[in-house]
């Protein structure tokens, strides 16, 4: 369309079919401008790709762990003999080592190792085995498969985090141990397995990155979201109904409107300050409790939910209201029996998106003490889930990222994958709801 105008001669006495210098310049400028726009989009998408590849590349190793998988048989006599020893776990360790050496011999792999090396690789093997047989004495004499988690440095060796060049001999791992690891790998004893502990487990201390799991903080996030849902949905819907359907045009309504739009733009950390000052210092609610986190996130999510609820109430055509009023319904009945049900899909979509936002929010949780708390256990019951100190997913990720040990970074990335999986699910549900139930009037 514009080409026609571009090819018209700018100066007289020139060929129509030949573009003069000025036109060429203008066309080049046009091309450049277009290229800027395209490259801006490509840069944006490039960042997206880089972000996701680095999340996936760094996070996936958190889902596997290195285990030593051995079949072990302990006879009744060996058990009795070991129980008579002074150092019982040492006796079990020695039995285990003998067994392992036998296994390696069968496979034709020759390697020298002692009990200390095994302890550096696998931790206290003896006590694990002893506990198993103490609890299940009936398995004595039959072969039992043990899956023993390797230490985080051995794990790092397998995942390329630790190499022979970077490893320095320490009481945690020595260079000679890597020979043993290689030998075990050759014999097929040591391998990578899916790390269920990471998903179901609880956070470990600073010294045990291998055993850290995100399970407890998922539960903490879950309780927080329950609080947010139970408070922000009714309050948000009620507030929107009032503002959209009943509120008269006056100063008070204006005040509410201004407040809502300002709250939507207040930085989340300020809500954390509010939570700290009001809920913890003033009301003395328990620190680090999902209840407090939920309350703070509720206040933060409310503007989002109110804005989306008002939009979906507004999209219900006035004819519905008029029809209801026409057959004698009161204003309240019109809203609750007719407008609200029709607006519900939109409201639910907005609520889910608000919840997803709240789920990923970290800054306010920092201030109410959810970071730095080591979530070592699951809450004991439903009610305790709200009041007992716990962590939440983003807070847990931050805690891991802030720890000095590099092995925790892998956990932090893995936690992000789980967090994003939750967010993705919630958003997909919201999209499906919208597609399935949204009505075009």
């Amino acid at each position: 369309m514009t080409d026609a105008s571009l090819n018209t001669p700018a100066h007289s006495g020139k060929q129509l079919s030949q573009a003069d210098a000025h036109t060429k310049k203008r066309n080049a400028a046009e091309k450049r401008f277009r290229a800027y726009g395209l490259s801006a989009i490509l840069i944006g998408l490039f960042f997206l790709v880089v972000l996701f590849t680095s999340i996936i590349r760094s996070g996936l190793p958190a889902f596997t762990r290195t285990v030593v998988d051995v079949e072990f048989t302990l006879t009744q006599e060996q058990f009795d003999a070991a129980e008579k020893e002074l150092f019982k776990t040492k006796a079990y360790s020695n039995l285990f080592i003998a067994e392992l050496q036998g296994k390696l011999g069968e496979k034709g792999v020759e390697v020298e190792f002692d009990e200390k090396a095994i302890e550096r690789l696998l931790g206290k093997v003896g006590s694990t085995i002893r506990e198993h047989y103490k609890e299940n004495p009936d398995t004595l004499g039959a072969p039992v498969r043990f899956e023993l988690a390797a230490s985080s440095r051995v794990d790092g060796y397998f995942k390329g985090r630790v190499t022979r060049d970077t490893l320095q001999d320490s009481r945690f791992l020595q260079l000679s141990d890597l020979d043993l690891v290689d030998a075990l790998e050759e014999a097929g004893v040591i391998k990578q397995a899916f790390n269920w502990t990471f998903i179901t487990g609880t956070d470990s201390g600073v010294d045990n990155p291998g055993g850290a799991g995100i399970g407890a903080s998922v539960v903490g996030s879950f309780f927080m979201m329950l609080v947010v849902l139970a408070l922000s949905l009714p309050i948000g819907v009620a507030a929107s109904i009032y503002l959209e359907e009943f509120a008269p045009q006056n100063k008070f309504t204006d005040l509410i409107e201004v407040n809502i739009s300002n709250l939507a733009a207040v930085p989340s950390i300020v809500f954390g300050i509010l939570g700290l000052a009001v809920f913890i210092q003033f009301m003395h609610l328990p620190q680090s409790a999902p209840l407090v986190g939920g309350l703070v996130l509720t206040l933060m999510t409310l503007p989002t939910i109110i804005i989306s609820t008002r939009a979906s109430l507004k999209s219900v055509p006035p004819s519905i209201r008029e029809a209801a009023l026409g057959v004698g319904a009161s204003k309240m009945q019109t809203v609750f029996h007719h407008v609200l049900p029709l607006a519900m899909p939109g409201i639910l979509t907005g609520t889910i998106i608000g919840l997803a936002q709240a789920l990923g929010e970290t800054a306010p949780l920092l201030l109410i003490g959810m970071v730095g708390f080591v979530a070592r256990g699951y809450p004991e019951g439903f009610a305790q889930g709200f009041t007992e100190a716990n962590s939440a997913m983003p807070a847990q990720i931050y805690t891991w990222a802030a720890r000095a040990d590099v092995s925790f970074y892998e956990k932090a990335w893995g936690g992000i994958i789980i967090l994003l999986a939750f967010l993705l699910t919630m958003n997909i549900i919201a999209i499906i709801l919208r597609r399935r139930f949204e009505r075009r009037w």
Binding site: M1, T2, S5, L6, R26, A29, E30, F33, R34, G37, A40, I41, G44, F47, L51, S54, S58, P234, I235, G236, A238, A239, I241, Y242, F246, N259, N262, A265, V266, P267, S268, I269, V270, I273, A277, V278, M283, S330, K331, A356, G360, E361, T362, A363, L366, G369, V371, G372, P394, I397, Y398, A401, Y409, A412, W413, I416, L419, L420, L423, N427
Partner: protein, 490 residues
């Protein structure tokens, strides 16, 4: 969990009241619903609301008031002589509260009997040992006044909880009784219920005002408290930020200028990344892209906005930081010492803000009427000339508003700077140096070990106030610009 039980009891009273009220209204009309003023359900709802609203209202008020009352009563009975030099009454009260919690926990674990815990002549040393055994953190030794106060505290709290149970149930029952009594055929139940529901709706809408009020009050009170301990002029004009870690204060330099500089510097870097990319992306999407490209690229860009900030923080710390170091660090150009720097945080924050700028600008550019473009094309302008000379000037107020909103986002952003910008407060022009921001320092001052009453912790509230005023000012200014300079098209 007695609170949960209390909640359920009130609900049960309301449910029973609903059935009773409905039944009584029907009975008064001889079982013929047509003789009633309202639908039978409204008589039930009338009773239920009259039981629930006062019941829950009293519950909430009581829960808020009891700690205040107990706190002031107990605090007034601690003699002045019991307060050590340098310590404050609030510090001692915290100890009392800890001791009381410890006693509760010890009783719950059966380590001491309830009678021992309340015994005023208890042996303090033995009790301390018991508390330690119960896993309670107790300061070195409990003094007699603290123990007495803690016991009084427990006593008052237990009595208060019991009184609350009685009062709430009584109020709920009274309300239900009153409502059931009202349920007669001629009673205008629907009007009453609808007015009640309307009042509840107004209350829900007022939560927004309460939240703002809560934010402002908690910031103002603590900020005033801070300025009582630390001169305001030193805070606003001090060029050095060096909080002492002793917890006693006194020697701390708490000047806000280095933090503000860090905040602005990082925000400027972020905007320098986000504004050109976001703006050009918006222009391309709204003016050049076909519907197919638009349908794919727009949501993909908006994914960037949906990613939690903690993810960006980690991305800055672990991916972008090391990457920048490998280019600008000692092995490359030698400008950068460590991965955490203004550049790291600014770059990542810019990525976060791209969709923010692009979708806001996209809406604004789309709102420019097609007739203006057509007029420009008609005069022989190319598409880019039209955009630069017609569309963008028309959309400028909106775009400036969007950029200001993005700037307010950048200033208030926390996780990226906490993880990516470093912790050193300095006034420097080098973007490859670590700097820190207002938000990052709020976090570090409030999550440290500093006592809440010390200037080192209270400064966080003054910082929060600064941040709140800054972002609010930017938002109001953005709205003002949009409103004032907006072109009105038919």
């Amino acid at each position: 969990m007695p609170l949960l039980w209390l909640f359920l009891i009130v609900l049960a009273i309301a449910a029973a009241g609903f059935v009773l009220g409905r039944g009584r209204a029907l009975a008064s009309a001889g079982g013929d619903a047509r003789a009633l003023h309202s639908l039978p359900g409204y008589y039930g709802w009338n009773v239920a609301l009259k039981a629930m609203v006062p019941g829950f209202g009293l519950l909430i008020v009581w829960l808020l008031a009891q700690p205040l009352y107990v706190g002031s009563t107990v605090s007034s009975m601690i003699p002045d002589s019991a307060i050590k030099d340098g310590a404050s009454r609030s510090l001692l009260m915290a100890e009392v509260r800890r001791t009381a919690d410890g006693l509760d926990a010890a009783v719950a674990q059966d380590l001491i009997t309830a009678r021992d815990a309340a015994d005023p002549d208890a042996d303090i040393a033995a009790l301390t040992d018991k508390l330690k055994e119960a896993g309670q953190i107790v300061t070195a030794e409990i003094t007699q006044p603290v123990l007495t106060a803690a016991q009084r505290y427990r006593d008052l709290n237990a009595k208060g909880a019991f009184a609350m149970l009685i009062a709430v149930v009584a109020v709920a029952l009274a309300g239900a009784f009153y409502g059931v009594n009202e349920a007669r055929a001629e009673f205008r139940a629907r009007n009453v219920v609808e007015n009640g529901v309307r009042a509840l709706l107004i209350a829900a809408a007022s939560v927004a005002i309460l939240t703002t009020l809560g934010i402002v009050l908690s910031l103002v009170f603590n900020t005033v408290e801070f300025f009582r301990l630390y001169p305001a002029s030193n805070f606003f004009f001090g060029t050095s930020w060096a909080p002492s870690f002793s917890g006693r204060g006194g020697a701390s330099d708490l000047g806000v200028l280095p933090l503000l500089w860090g905040t602005f510097y990082i925000s400027i870097v972020a905007l320098a990344v986000a504004v050109p990319i976001g703006l050009f992306a918006a222009i391309y999407l709204s003016e050049y892209a076909g519907p197919k490209v638009r349908a794919v690229a727009k949501p993909l860009l908006e994914v960037l906005a949906g990613i939690p900030t903690i993810v960006y923080g980690l991305f800055a710390l672990l991916t972008v930081g090391p990457l920048l170091v490998s280019v600008f660090g000692d092995e490359g150009l030698g400008w950068m010492q460590a991965g955490t720097a203004v550049m790291t945080a600014g770059l990542v924050m810019g990525i976060m803000l791209i969709p923010f700028v692009s979708s806001l600008s996209d809406d604004i550019i789309n709102a420019v009427p097609q007739a203006m473009r057509d007029g420009s094309y008609g005069l022989g302008a190319t598409q880019s000339e039209t955009i630069r000379q017609v569309v963008l000037p028309a959309a400028l107020p909106g775009i400036v508003g969007a950029i200001l909103l993005a700037a307010s986002r950048a200033i208030g952003e926390t996780m990226i700077v906490v993880l990516g910008a470093g912790a050193a407060a300095r006034l420097s022009l080098n973007p490859f140096e670590a700097m820190t921001t207002v938000t990052a320092k709020i976090v570090s001052q409030l999550t440290g070990d500093a006592d809440f009453a010390s200037p080192e912790a209270l400064v966080a509230f003054a910082l929060g106030m600064t941040l709140f005023v800054l972002t609010l000012g930017l938002n109001v200014f953005a709205l003002y610009i949009v409103r004032k300079y907006r072109e009105q098209y038919e």
